[in-house]
Amino acid sequence: MKPGRAYAQAIRRVAAAFAMAALASMANAASAGEVPRRVVSMNLCTDQLAMLLAEDGQLHSVSHLATDPEASVLAVEARGYRVNHGLAEEVFLMRPDLVLAGAYTTRATVALLRRLGFRAEEFEPEASFDDVRANIRRMGALLGHQERAEAMVAALDRDLAEASAQPSRAASAALYSSNSYVSGSGTLADAALGASGLDNVADMLGIKGAGRVPLEALIMADPDLVVTSESDFARPALAQENFRHPAFRALSAHKMAVSVPDKLWICGAPFTVEAVRILRRAAAGQPIERGDAR
């Protein structure tokens, strides 16, 4: 905790030096009813929702993760914004009238920014499509674009209905990722699986959230569809060895298998429907066109 405290003190000194500036931004923050003009987002998920809903010039900065093509669907768009690293000092100097943050990752920073008089809104990570709808509506309300948000929710519902209308040959699926982790109920990936009409074998294996499953147990669970998530890191690690194990290869050779890019369900947003579509097509036994997910 010591470095945190030292950091807080440093920030306080900065705060004193910029007292006038802070007062000015406090005046901005006080008028919460007004539409914010200078928004800074510090979380990958709020970054993407804000990019989708804000008008030109309203969103000032997004987090560095938003520009990472492995994690962010809107990586190209994100390059048009200033990048922040979720540090209080950095955000302070940008003098935003609204700070958007995740509910878990940058708690200390958010608390500090609030003490300095900034208006900060925290978003819970989405674990279901209801959460996605709620977060879209909330983001729309915060940015003063309720009608855009409503249109986006309507489009999401339409896309979801369309995606799940396709036929399915598979009944059950396993969401298998690095280090033999399997996603179960309470995750957005599980919600996407549910939306595509598939049962998650994680329920059978007694896994809530994400849990490690020995390869033996996965083979005995016998899913019709094996869903892996592709992530291309610059260097290998043992964590990805489970995909190369001969027993896993034999399993996925006998079953239907599909790879869904992680970025589609790290954050819940309209693009998460694309994951449902990929799953649905795989379950119907149709070939997957690469590049669809872009």
């Binding site: 020995p214 033996e216 147990a217 083979i219 005995m220 890191f233 260097r235 964590a239 001969p246 027993a247």
Partner: protein, 333 residues
């Protein structure tokens, strides 16, 4: 009962124990498969789920448990005889940790993906380097204290470098794998690992196996052994390269597993007598039995938690080590 008869009895008993534990290792696992089904699955021709699990997951795990255990037991016995030091063991001397470092560099830089033999060779180089450094630091007739101090230095340095290499990797999963390299595990290893490490371990065993007689003579002292025609250089070559090849290959696929090489020779020495030529085969079998037992327990004690092997071997090994230090201190004073 004569010495010979007792020695044969001990060997036969150990071989039986290894056979039982090997079968147990094949039949214990997270997928609840009946005993008879599992053995049938191993031998049948079909490609069903049970056959797949038995052949591609449990068989390589059991084979690796047996071979790595034998490697650790054998190299522990050889190192104790060769360095004439009761505390010598690949784990304590930092040979396993250095082999880990070599393997980590090979895997996370991408060498092992580009060059299949890169992994065991890198681990072997790490192990050779560790043995040579320890010999240089402690001298060939180094006392207990200097060898252990050198071992502590080498293993903590290699451990720190392993952590550094994993922390610097751009792969977000790498840093979590420090535990695997420090404590060792056989979870979900495959036949590919057996083919990769097996030949190196066999070559290492052959080299260490040649050392039985020379080590017997070495018990009379280095000068006496030399006068009886033991080539010290050849012996050093066999001991260093044999240990490095077998321990390096074992560590490359299963991480550093400690204490097996320390505990097993000490337990067996009173049973087979003090002659190293008898202790070597017995220790190999004993090491295999100990590691197979640990690997079965890992699956029984905390299924689904992926408990590391080194945790169990240390629970047995560390108190034993303390007792040994206590005993050694008394005799040395």
């Amino acid at each position: 009962m004569s010495e010979d008869a007792r020695y044969r009895l001990v060997l036969a008993g150990l071989a039986m124990l290894v056979a039982v534990l090997f079968t147990l290792s094949l039949t214990v696992g997270p997928a609840a498969i009946a005993f008879s089904d599992s053995l049938a699955g191993l031998l049948s021709d079909d490609r069903g789920a049970i056959a797949l699990i038995m052949r591609e997951i449990r068989l390589p795990r059991a084979i690796l448990g047996l071979m790595i255990g034998a490697t650790l037991g054998l190299s522990g016995a050889v190192l104790q005889g060769y360095l004439r030091n009761p505390l010598a063991e690949p784990g304590l001397l930092g040979i396993s940790a250095s082999a880990s470092l070599g393997a980590v560099l090979a895997i996370y830089i991408g060498l092992s993906a580009a060059l299949p033999l890169g992994l065991p060779l890198a681990a072997l180089s790490g192990a050779v380097l560790a043995v040579l450094v320890i010999q240089a630091l402690a001298g060939i007739r180094g006392g207990t204290l200097t060898i252990i101090l050198a071992g502590v230095a080498v293993s903590s340095f290699a451990g720190a470098m392993t952590s550094l290499a994993l922390n610097l990797s751009p792969n977000p999963f790498a840093a979590l794998e420090i535990v695997f390299w420090m404590l060792g595990s056989l979870t979900d290893r495959s036949m590919a690992h057996v083919w990769l490490s097996g030949p190196f371990m066999l070559v290492g065993w052959a080299m260490l196996g040649c050392l039985g007689r020379p080590l017997d003579m070495l018990t009379l002292g280095a000068d006496a052994a030399q006068s009886m025609g033991v080539g010290m250089r050849r012996m050093q070559f066999l001991a260093v390269i044999g240990t490095a090849a077998s321990v390096g290959a074992a560590t490359a696929v299963a991480g550093a597993i400690g204490f097996v090489g320390l505990v097993v020779p000490h337990i067996l020495r009173p049973l087979v007598g003090a002659l190293p030529s008898r202790l070597l085969p017995a220790s190999a079998l004993g090491g295999a039995a100990m590691l197979l037992a640990a690997d079965v327990l890992v699956r029984l004690v905390a299924p689904g938690k992926d408990l590391k092997l080194g945790v169990l071997t240390a629970i047995v090994g560390a108190p034993f080590f303390l007792w040994l230090v206590w005993k050694t201190r008394r005799t040395m004073l």
